[in-house]
């Protein structure tokens, strides 16, 4: 009975979208918030009942087939949904965290222009995201995949009056689209090989047809990885995420931290059967994850905008998830996805609270000393930051991150393990820098001096709930995915687990302590250090996130614009127009001979007659 409820999880947000879109501004602000949040709340309730039935039931995957989308020959993708432990986990995060963020957004967006538009897009996003994770075939997944991209574009460009926001939105869409094209070609390849896009059938047939290391399997995995890199903002398609912070903060929390950017992790986990057949690509997944987490960790150290710090930290944490996938610890990757959704959503919402209370001031250098004025935001930041930095034992982030590092060791990937440990040191540093910068010291601007704490359930409850989920309690919600994934490398081994835990705890604590010492006591010294010389060089280099933007600008964007400018006149058309030009030239030449002067005509007649005679003579009348 419960499986018939499954379509409601995406139909409810869709209903919200349509209701809001067709209201055309006739609904008041309160009604808009009610409709927008209500639809997600109902979807979350449906998910809860589905989840309860699933866990208490026999836990076998359920498929609901709504209708056949397209049917041409073998190509018969349906609009059908599958609920298994993995999609249930994702669905719970999307609707649960999504509901809290929608609720909070009612407080954050109060009085903004275009609330209807905001909630329309947000509901449309949840709709697409739910389809993405429930789809039982890759075409429907692709629908959700592109749908979330569109919503992300629309919400990044929400404050559309500012040209740079539009640029950030376009950048996000186009960079992820580059990844999507890889994914699409991967789908073509899979369909050409196996004649189906149904995920379960694909994995079975691939397993039968391909041996481990088969070149086609490697190529397919590589193409799918391309799609995942774009969506999840991993090297080298990561440049859009930091700019995506131009959107309203709840959007950053929902789309650019908790759900959409983790879609790449979900995709690889879902199609792990293909990656298992391509060990080299799977290893590449881990390496890309490790590189991204280091790159983003350094970049996060040198940002001045609260949201950009959090954006790079998101990239970095998704790097951990990719690292987990790369060592074959899919379950650990998804576990980190869940805990990350809790604490990163918390951090973003708390950042939103700070930003609203300080009149949209989000530069760390102009904030400071807010811990007494904004106690709830401070508490949220401390709890969320502790989870982010994986403070041992009491935070959710510790358990998931520790699991990843342990699996990396068990898979004998010492390089990845070291990168992960170094990354957790960096995490502690930038987290402390952020918290100290916002809440300690003295207020550095009028806005920070006059900050007033937010009030009301809309503001408080989501923060408190997410804060609770970011602690040890959140780690208890670890999903059991053993039925879906192959056993992780560390499933049987135990030697070294304790050692890794100790080392990981030590690095995390070291990061936090060093960070606290540096930023609480050594502030002025640091400022002098980065003002010039070698320190300044690194500051600028990391601030620009290693200069990828400039590189792409020079290598891709400018040449493209040159081509566009060069071709603007449509030279092929001009070339075809030469025929017309030729006719005009002949016309001009011939019309000149028609000048009405008798002697010209007489001369022309004589010359013409002579020429004809001459030709005749030469041709054979000799």
């Amino acid at each position: 009975m419960t499986e018939s409820l499954l379509p409601l999880t995406f139909l409810l947000p869709l209903a919200g979208t349509l209701l809001l879109a067709f209201s055309a501004g006739r609904l008041g602000e309160r009604s808009v918030v009610w409709v927008g949040t209500g639809s997600i709340a109902l979807a979350a309730l449906v998910t809860a009942s589905l989840g309860a039935a699933f866990i208490l039931g026999e836990q076998s995957p359920q498929t609901v087939n709504l209708y056949t989308w397209i049917a041409v020959g073998d190509f018969t993708p349906g609009v059908s949904l599958t609920l298994d432990a993995l999609s249930l986990t994702m669905l719970s995060v999307i609707t649960g965290v999504g509901f809290l963020i929608h609720w909070f957004a009612g407080w954050y967006m109060r009085g903004e222009e275009g609330m209807t538009r905001f909630y329309t897009y947000m509901n449309l996003f949840v709709f697409s995201m739910v389809l993405l994770v429930l789809a039982d075939n890759l075409l429907l997944l692709f629908l959700g995949w592109e749908g979330v991209g569109l919503c992300s574009y629309l919400l990044i460009g929400y404050y559309y009056h500012n040209d740079s926001n539009g640029g950030a939105a376009m950048k996000a869409f186009i960079v992820t689209r580059i990844g999507d094209v890889f994914l699409a070609v991967g789908l073509f390849l899979l369909f050409a090989q196996f004649g189906t896009l149904n995920i379960a059938e694909l994995l079975t047939r691939a397993n039968e047809a391909w041996s481990v290391g088969e070149p086609l399997a490697q190529l397919t995995a590589l193409l799918i990885l391309g799609g995942a890199l774009g969506k999840s903002a991993q090297l080298p398609l990561h440049t859009w995420l930091a700019d995506a912070m131009a959107g309203p903060t709840p959007v950053s929390a929902l789309i650019h931290a908790a759900t959409m950017v983790t879609a790449g992790v979900y995709l690889i986990a879902r199609l792990h059967g293909i990656f298992e057949l391509a060990p080299a690509v799977l290893y590449l997944v881990g390496v890309i994850g490790a590189l991204t987490l280091l790159m983003a960790g350094f970049a996060a150290l040198a940002q001045t905008d609260i949201k950009r710090v959090l954006a790079y930290s998101t990239m970095s944490q998704i790097g951990y998830m990719f690292l987990a996938l790369g060592v074959g610890a899919y379950s650990a990757g998804i576990f980190h996805l869940v805990t990350h959704a809790f604490f990163k959503a918390l951090l973003f919402l708390a950042a939103g609270a700070v930003i609203v209370c300080c009149h949209h001031e989000q530069d760390i250098r102009r904030l400071g000393g807010l811990r007494r004025r904004l106690p709830l935001a401070y508490l949220s930041f401390v709890v969320g930051g502790a989870a982010l930095a994986a403070l041992p034992l009491v935070t959710a982030g510790f358990y998931s991150k520790d699991e990843i590092l342990w699996q990396a060791l068990a898979a004998e990937q010492q390089g990845l393990l070291v990168a992960g440990l170094l990354g957790s040191l960096l995490t502690g540093l930038y987290t402390l820098r952020l918290i100290v910068g916002i809440f300690h010291g003295k207020p550095n601007s009028e806005a920070a001096k006059k900050a007033k704490a937010g009030r009301g359930l809309q503001h408080t409850v989501p923060l408190v709930v997410l804060a609770v989920l970011s602690t040890l309690l959140g780690a208890w919600l670890r999903p059991d995915l053993s039925a879906i994934f192959p056993a992780a490398p560390g499933a049987d081994a135990h030697s070294g687990h304790t050692a890794v835990q100790l080392i990981a705890s030590a690095t995390a604590i070291a990061g936090i302590l060093v960070g606290a010492w540096l930023f609480l006591t050594q502030g002025p010294k640091l400022a002098r250090l980065v003002a010039g010389g070698v320190g300044g060089f690194f500051w600028r280099w990391w601030h620009r996130a290693f200069g990828f933007d400039g590189l792409y600008d020079r290598v891709l964007v400018r040449p493209f614009l040159t081509v566009v400018c060069g071709l603007r006149r449509d030279w092929l058309d001009a070339f075809c127009g030469l025929a017309g030009q030729l006719a005009l030239a002949l016309h001009a030449g011939l019309s000149r001979s028609q000048n009405g002067q008798l002697r010209h005509y007489a001369a022309a007649t004589v010359v013409g007659a002579t020429l004809i005679l001459a030709v005749l003579v030469m041709l054979g009348y000799e």
């Binding site: 879109a21 055309a24 209708y67 056949t68 989308w69 397209i70 049917a71 041409v72 020959g73 190509f75 222009e113 275009g114 075409l139 692709f142 629908l143 995949w145 592109e146 749908g147 569109l150 574009y153 629309l154 460009g157 559309y160 009056h161 500012n162 040209d163 926001n165 539009g166 640029g167 939105a169 376009m170 869409f173 186009i174 689209r177 580059i178 999507d180 094209v181 699409a184 070609v185 789908l187 073509f188 390849l189 369909f191 050409a192 081509v563 566009v564 400018c565 071709l567 603007r568 449509d570 092929l572 058309d573 070339f575 075809c576 127009g577 017309g580």
Partner: protein
């Protein structure tokens, strides 16, 4: 007789409009009623037809009308309808209604003659979709040209200091006429070749399908047809007329051009160029697909650089038609069906974008996107619809354009993977031009803050109806696919035979094609 009716309704309606001008606004209502009648007739035919039973071997016309015309030259007034023509006629009916509605306020001078021309274009297009006598087909092919010329020349816009509407109309006329001339020559050569073989002088499509031709002659004649249709589609580098014609034409003209006239090119390829010369087409397929890829990129890159909104949409049409061309020459049922869906989808979405362009012009009196910007909050629900149509143009899943593009690429991949890889790259460019349009027109700083008039019920229902169809065929494309599946598998079968035989039959210079109807 119902087929003759489909053609006669617009022509008679056109004459009535012309005479109705003395009664004020009457021509608009007559034209609207005429196009509604065409649409309803087409839908009634659709509802009454059974597309599954048609036997792929036999002549599979659903309806046929055969009257003697010029018996001396073997010319008949022969109309026939199958799933392919039906879909395109229904599209013509719908976009015809749209064209009448979008001119309601825009065209104020000579409304009688305007609607005469509009309906004659549509009547000619319906004739093109129905004629299965090659001479009759040519007559209709030329017949839709002249009134289109007048639509652009007389009701078009001339840019001050730039190109005039007459220039665009003449360019359009010369391009199409030159292509038509090649086609006429090819038709005559085919007919005489058939006469030389069988002693029978006939222009009948079914008879000519069985013509035996030498490889070289088939290739030349096929090129004659291909170029004529390539001009209409248009295929780069024969596209030069399109941006000018669109930029200068009135909105109704652009809607008809993008929505329907371009589809006659694709229809001609599917109905004539491929079935008449299957092995020559199969040989030519790699070139055609290469031209398709060139068109996708060339159109998209040029679209990125335009400042005139109508020129931008015109270049996106070129880009989208590249996908259609690839699908037509892929030799796979999936891709052929995709090409059909994409034709319908592009007809609707491009028409929607042109209607929006017209509505923007009515409010702002400019087509220059650099003079727009920040319009999102000033135009009521118009920007929302733009977003929908732009999403369709960039192939967002859920819209019919996605279904079409995806099926074309998916179906072509097994035969020509590199073509597909390259064409998929075009999807990135489509995102760039589509979002550029949104950014330049609706986002960015507002140049003024005063609200502009929103959509009135006429405009709202036009956009809503068109967009609803885009979504409908994106989420439930099956009715469309079922209607044309027989026709498309027929085309695919014709294509497959020579491809399969090619390795063995390389030495033989002559091959008989004897495939009755489609």
């Amino acid at each position: 007789m119902i087929l003759a009716g489909l053609i006669l309704i617009p022509f008679l309606g056109g004459l009535l409009c012309w005479q109705g001008e003395r009664f004020g606004e009457a021509p608009r209502w007559i034209a609207l009623a005429t196009m509604v009648a065409v649409l309803i007739t087409a839908l009634a035919l659709w509802a009454g037809a059974d597309f599954q039973l048609a036997d792929p071997g036999a002549a599979a016309w659903l309806w046929e009308l055969r009257l003697p015309w010029i018996p001396r030259f073997g010319i008949e007034f022969h109309l026939a309808l199958d799933g392919l023509s039906l879909v395109l006629i229904a599209l013509t009916g719908f976009l015809g209604i749209l064209a009448v509605l979008c001119s309601w306020k825009e065209v104020q001078e000579g409304i009688g003659f305007f609607h005469l021309n509009l309906l004659f274009v549509l009547g000619g297009v319906v004739g093109v979709f129905l004629a299965v006598d090659l001479f009759l087909f040519f007559v209709f092919w030329e017949m839709m040209l002249v009134p289109m010329y007048f639509l652009i020349a007389l009701w078009g816009h001339s840019e001050p200091g730039g190109k005039t509407s007459t220039y665009a109309a003449v360019k359009f006329f010369i391009y199409t006429q030159a292509g038509g001339l090649l086609m006429l020559a090819a038709i005559l050569a085919l007919v005489f070749a058939h006469q030389a073989n069988t002693g029978e002088l006939t222009f009948s499509y079914e008879a000519l399908l069985a013509t035996t031709l030498s490889n070289e002659l088939a290739l030349v004649l096929m090129l004659g047809f291909f170029i004529a249709f390539a001009v209409k589609l248009p295929v780069v580098p024969l596209h030069g007329w399109l941006p000018d014609a669109h930029a200068q034409a009135p909105t109704a003209g652009s809607v008809d051009l993008a929505g329907i006239l371009l589809k006659t090119g694709a229809y001609g390829l599917l109905r004539f160029a491929l079935p008449l010369f299957p092995e020559a087409s199969a040989q030519f397929a790699p070139v055609a697909m290469g031209l398709g890829v060139l068109g996708i990129f060339y159109g998209a890159v040029l679209a990125c650089g335009q400042t005139n909104i109508k020129r931008l949409i015109a270049y996106t049409s070129i880009s989208h038609m590249g996908f259609v061309l690839i699908g037509i020459y892929s030799g796979s049922t999936l891709a052929l069906q995709g090409a059909l869906v994409l034709m319908v989808a592009h007809g609707l979405s491009a028409a929607g974008l042109f209607v929006l362009g017209g509505q923007l012009y009515e409010r702002l009196h400019t087509r220059d996107m650099s003079q727009m910007g920040g319009l999102w909050g000033r135009l009521g629900s118009l920007p929302g619809f733009s977003l929908g149509f732009v999403a369709a143009a960039l192939g967002m899943p859920g819209t019919a354009n996605f279904v079409g593009e995806f099926m074309v690429l998916l179906g072509t991949f097994p035969t020509a993977p590199w073509i597909v890889v390259l064409a998929s790259g075009g999807l990135i460019l489509s995102a760039i031009y589509a979002l550029t349009l949104m950014q330049k027109v609706y986002f960015g700083p507002a140049q003024k803050s005063a609200p502009l008039p929103g959509l009135d019920p006429r405009e709202y229902s036009m956009l809503l109806g068109t967009f609803a169809l885009v979504l409908l065929f994106g989420l439930f494309p099956q009715p469309l696919l079922d209607t044309t599946s027989t026709v498309m598998s027929g085309v695919q079968g014709l294509f497959e035979a020579p491809v399969a035989e090619a390795p063995q039959g390389g030495g033989t210079s002559e091959m008989t094609i004897d495939r009755g109807g489609l």
